[in-house]
Symmetry: C2
DNA sequence: ATACCATATCGCCATTTAGCAATAGTCCCA
DNA sequence: TGGGACTATTGCTAAATGGCGATATGGTAT
């Protein structure tokens, strides 16, 4: 029963898809430090405003991020910290793979 | 220091990308029950052989799956159970969202 | 050798999408 | 009431990719 029918499966893959983009992950990482308006993200990530806005929209639609207007600014903040649990699992796996590959290299000189 | 430089970021997103596809997730789910040759996956998933082979290749390149030839068969098996930890986190989030949405509906009849 | 099954790969097409420049909308202040 | 800063949207292009049929490759038995 772990991963059920196709419709549900697609919801899951959709969320993975949202995380499958460097700019979006970078945004989440930046917001982890503190809530931020768009312009600060633009500066922090050295990205174009149009693109940051678009990616923020996608993150917001996915329910990963919250919007709050403050005057002329739109301040975004994290809505899901589970993202970083996901990232940690992935990073651990990547590290395991790297260590394994290193060991394989040392085994045949 | 949580999520570092851009190159590392892209490795992480690449793995998320591998999981951002219903057919691939379905394959992983099927392999969770037991190792299987391609033809069984084709039958189980009601998918085309060419596509299953292709997706298996991607899963293999990502180090999520193992290949072992047995005569004329190629038996695939899981190499990473951490996938299902990822899926569980995502499913929990989806369920939380759904409950929240339901509560919001009941709040205004 | 031959026929056959299982798997992998190739060429192709349709769809999706990140990024960009330009523009529209929104809010504040002088 | 303008002007300016901030943000969202639109139209576009180039690249990536899932899926398909057809074909190549590899392994087995007769």
């Amino acid at each position: 029963m772990s991963l059920p029918d196709r419709p549900h499966l697609e919801k899951v893959t959709k969320l993975f898809g949202v995380l499958a983009e460097p700019t979006r992950l970078a945004i989440l990482q930046a917001l982890k430090e503190a809530p931020m308006p768009v312009k600060d993200l633009v500066e922090t990530l050295h990205a174009k405003q149009a693109n940051v806005s678009k990616q923020l929209g996608i993150l917001h639609d996915a329910g990963l991020v919250e919007r709050k207007r403050e005057g002329t600014l739109t301040v975004y903040s994290l809505r899901e910290t589970m993202i970083f649990d996901l990232c940690k699992l992935v990073c651990d796996k990547l590290r395991r793979d790297a260590e394994e590959q290193l060991a394989a290299l040392e085994r045949m000189p």
